[in-house]
Amino acid sequence: MEEVAFFGLAIGALGGAIAVIGLRNPFYSVLALIVHLVSLAGLFLLLHAEFIAAAQVVVYAGAVMVLYVFVAAYVGNVEEPIWDQIPGQRFVAPVLAAALFVELTIAITGTALKSLESEGPTIPLGFGSPGSIGELLLERYLIVFEAASMLLLIAAVGAVVLAGRRRQGEPSGG
């Protein structure tokens, strides 16, 4: 049962990813990414990471993707051909990416980590639940938590500065 779910979700994720890089219309790419993200949330569930899965759906596929949709709509459709100005990149890139994948695979499967070949140790109930994640966040990793919040604030301010309207008198062109 689990395998079926895995493969189904995996195909969903892979399909979404390939669609992101393959579709010409950026708007469609955004939509494909949403599919991908939801599939990933399902995979998280399989890995007993409920809170993360929920966060993925709500934050990522929800808020972040909405942002993308807004900007894609604002910017409009820029149909672009997929070939490159940099000569040869079209061919080199997949090759490099494939090389990377192969290396990573070798690294993963070639390790002697026993735990990777199994499902992992038995896990307690409540593994990955909001309660235990919350405990970790607010006790052991409090500083990380606070730093992440700061980062969010800074990012928000930065975005406003970057994209905000200039004061009167300054042209917004060029």
Partner: protein, 99 residues
């Protein structure tokens, strides 16, 4: 399922994301591919957390999500600024770092 599978999937997704960055020209799509890579990383983290029986991997993944959100915000702000200044939305047009 053995954890390996998840890791291999994550590697594949990462590679796809990397290829996407190199191939596409629209900054929007490149950001999307960045998301792909980040999420592949997240998947690997959560898989390792499962394999180790330790939730710390999940916390890490959460923080990665936060960072990804911030980066998206800034990136999109850049795209909007580019659009406002009528620079064509083409990553090859921004070449001022040329040596």
């Amino acid at each position: 399922m053995a954890v390996e599978w998840y890791l291999v999937l994550s590697a594949l997704l990462f590679a796809i994301g990397a290829a996407g960055i190199l191939i596409r020209r629209s900054p929007l799509v490149i950001l999307l591919c960045l998301e792909l890579m980040l999420n592949a990383g997240n998947l690997a983290l959560v898989a390792f957390a499962r394999a180790a029986g330790n939730e710390e991997g999940q916390v890490f993944a959460l923080v990665v999500m936060v960072v990804a959100a911030c980066e998206v915000v800034v990136g999109l702000g850049l795209i909007v600024a580019m659009f406002r200044r009528r620079i064509p939305l083409n990553v090859d047009e921004i070449r001022t770092l040329r040596g």
